[in-house]
C-alpha cells in the first residue's frame, strides 16, 4: 500500500486520494468566441508524461485539491503542495 502526503492532513493511505487532472492547463477565455480545436485541446489533450509528472489530486476526506509531483514509472512521490503555494 502506498502512502501519499496530503499537504493539509499529512501522510495517508493511497485509497483516500483521487487523481483529478494534469497540472498547468489554462482554461481558454470563454467570454470570447473560441474555435472548436482550441476547446477540444483544452478538454481532452494530455501530455501524459512518462517519468516526472505534475498533477492535481484530491484528498477525498478533506476534499482539498493539491499539486503532486511524482514519477509515473516508479510511483515515487517527490513533493505535494497546496495549489495556492504552487512553486513558480
Amino acid at each position: 500500500m502506498q502512502i501519499f502526503t496530503c499537504p493539509f492532513c499529512g501522510p495517508r493511505d493511497e485509497r483516500e486520494f483521487h487523481f483529478a487532472a494534469e497540472a498547468g492547463k489554462t482554461r481558454p477565455d470563454t467570454t470570447r468566441q473560441i474555435d472548436p480545436e482550441t476547446w477540444a485541446t483544452y478538454l481532452h489533450a494530455q501530455r501524459n508524461d512518462k517519468g516526472r509528472t505534475r498533477e492535481v489530486w484530491m484528498h477525498l476526506p478533506c476534499s482539498e485539491l493539491f499539486l503532486m509531483e511524482r514519477d509515473s514509472v516508479t510511483m515515487e512521490v517527490f513533493s505535494t503542495h497546496p495549489l495556492r503555494k504552487e512553486p513558480q
Partner: protein, 416 residues
C-alpha cells in the same frame, strides 16, 4: 517457411523435431522502407501482415523496442468479443471478431480461438431492463446476442453464487455466443510468421527515439539502431502512444493507466464461458491449461509502471470471491499489469496523427487484444491509401473538436 499441418507434425515427430525452420528471420534494418510500423505487438504485426496481404506492400519494417508481443499483447486476458452498444463500435469490433474467426486458417497458425461465449450478468430488475436494451441494440447492429434469465445463466455457470444472502443475486444476463478467448502469444507469433513469410522485416530491440521530418512531412525515424527512412509510418504503440506523439510534437487525448490481471493455479475444468459481473467489475474465464484468468477495472492512477497496485487487486479478487465463493481459496500463480491507453470516450483513435506521413492506431484502452486484426487491417488501409476505410472514419481524431464522441464507456456498461 515450413507449412504447419498434422502431417508435418507427424513427420517431425518421427524425425526428432529436427526439421523445423525458424518462424521468422531477425534481419538487420535496411536504410529505407516503403512503410515502417512502430510497435511489434499484435496491432503492429497485424498492420504489417495486412499491408503485405491486402495491399501488396512488402517492403515493410516492424520496429519493436523490446521483444515481440512483450507489451499488452502478452499481458491481457485474451477475451475476444463485440458486445458494444453504438453502431460504429459494433461494426468495428464485430469485423474484428469475424477476422479472428478466420485467423488460424489465414495465418496457418492455431491461435486457439475458442468461441465459448461471454455472459454479462444482471443483478436487479433494473439491470435486466438495461440487459434487454443492450441485447436489442446488439441485435439491431447485427451482432449475436441472447437475453438469459436466471436459470439459463446458472445452467451455463453452475459455479455462480446462489446463496440466499448473497450481495448481488443473479437475475439474468446478456450472452454473446460468438465471443470467447484466444491464445495471445499465438496471435503475435502467427502474425509475425505470416508477415515475415511475405517479406516483412521484423526488427526487435530497436527503439524509436524520434522522427525525421522534411518540409513538414515525416520521412523516417531515428532509432537505437540508427536512422531509417520510410514512405509512410504507422504507430501502434498502445500505452506508449503519448510518448511517440511527443516525439512528433503532438498531444493526444489519451491517459495511460495500469490494468491488472491474474492467473490462478491450474484447476480441473470448472468454467467454460467468460463471465463479467458488473457490480464487482470482475470477470474471469478458464484457460486450456486450467488456470483461471481473472481481470477487472483500471488502477485509477496514471501509470507507465507495468505492475499493479494493491487496492485494485483487492477489489478484483474480493469480487471473484463473492461471484464464486468456492474459488476463494484458490491460489494465484501470477499477477501482472499492462499499460493501456484510455481515451475520453473509451473508443480507439485510428487515423492521421496531425503530422503528415504518420498514422495512428491507438486508444483501444482495455480492449486492444480483441481488436488486433481489425486495428491492423484499418491502419494498413490508411497507410496504403492515405484514406480511411468507412469502418475507421468515425474513430478519427476529428471527433474531438466536432464533439461526435462514441462513448462506449458510458453505453455498454462493460469495464473499460
Amino acid at each position: 517457411m515450413t507449412r504447419y499441418s498434422a502431417f508435418t507434425l507427424f513427420r517431425e515427430g518421427l524425425r526428432g523435431h529436427k526439421g523445423w525452420s525458424k518462424a521468422w528471420r531477425s534481419p538487420e534494418p535496411k536504410p529505407e522502407y516503403d512503410a515502417i510500423v512502430i510497435g511489434g505487438g499484435g496491432h503492429g504485426l497485424a498492420t504489417a501482415y495486412y499491408l503485405a496481404k491486402n495491399h501488396k506492400i512488402t517492403n515493410v519494417a516492424v520496429l519493436e523496442k523490446g521483444w515481440l508481443g512483450g507489451g499488452n499483447t502478452g499481458r491481457n486476458t485474451t477475451v475476444i468479443r463485440s458486445n458494444y452498444f453504438y453502431p460504429e463500435s459494433a461494426a468495428l469490433y464485430d469485423f474484428g471478431v469475424k477476422l479472428y474467426e478466420g485467423l488460424s486458417r489465414d495465418l496457418n497458425y492455431n491461435i486457439m480461438f475458442s468461441q465459448r461465449g461471454m455472459i454479462v450478468t444482471a443483478h436487479s430488475e433494473h439491470d435486466m431492463e438495461m440487459a434487454a436494451r443492450q441485447t436489442n441494440a446488439m441485435r439491431l447492429n447485427g451482432v449475436d446476442a441472447e437475453l438469459l434469465d436466471r436459470d439459463q445463466v446458472l445452467k451455463r455457470i453452475p459455479l455462480a453464487n446462489t446463496r440466499p444472502d448473497c450481495r448481488h443475486p443473479i437475475h439474468g444476463g446478456v450472452l454473446q455466443p460468438r465471443a470467447g478467448t484466444g491464445r495471445h502469444d499465438a496471435v503475435a507469433w502467427g502474425l509475425a510468421r505470416a508477415a515475415d513469410s511475405r517479406g516483412v522485416d521484423i526488427i526487435q530491440n530497436c527503439e524509436v527515439q524520434g522522427f525525421i521530418t522534411e518540409a513538414g512531412r515525416c520521412v523516417g525515424v531515428e532509432t537505437s539502431l540508427g536512422p531509417i527512412r520510410a514512405g509512410v509510418i504507422g504507430a501502434a504503440t498502445a500505452g506508449h502512444s503519448s510518448v511517440i506523439a511527443q516525439m512528433a510534437g503532438l498531444q493526444l487525448p489519451i491517459t495511460s493507466y495500469a490494468l491488472q490481471a491474474f492467473v490462478s493455479e491450474p484447476l480441473k475444468p470448472v468454467m467454460d464461458t467468460v463471465w463479467l459481473a458488473p457490480p464487482f467489475g470482475t470477470y474471469f474465464s478458464q484457460s486450456d491449461k486450467g488456470g483461471l484468468v481473472i481481470g477487472g477495472g483500471l488502477d485509477r492512477v496514471p501509470s507507465y509502471g507495468q505492475r499493479g497496485n494493491l487496492p485494485m487487486q483487492e477489489t478484483v479478487l474480493a469480487g471473484l470471491a463473492e461471484m464464486v465463493p468456492a474459488l476463494a481459496k484458490v491460489k494465484l500463480l501470477r499477477h501482472w499489469a499492462g499499460i493501456v491507453d484510455v481515451t475520453p470516450d473509451s473508443s480507439p483513435i485510428i487515423g492521421p496523427s496531425g503530422l503528415d506521413g504518420l498514422y495512428l492506431n491507438c486508444g483501444w484502452g482495455t480492449g486492444g487484444f480483441k481488436s488486433i486484426p481489425v486495428g491492423g487491417s484499418l491502419l494498413a488501409h490508411l497507410m496504403a491509401t492515405g484514406q480511411h476505410d468507412p469502418l475507421s472514419q468515425p474513430f478519427d481524431l476529428t471527433r474531438f473538436p466536432t464533439g461526435r464522441l462514441i462513448d462506449e464507456g458510458a453505453a455498454s456498461g462493460i469495464a473499460h
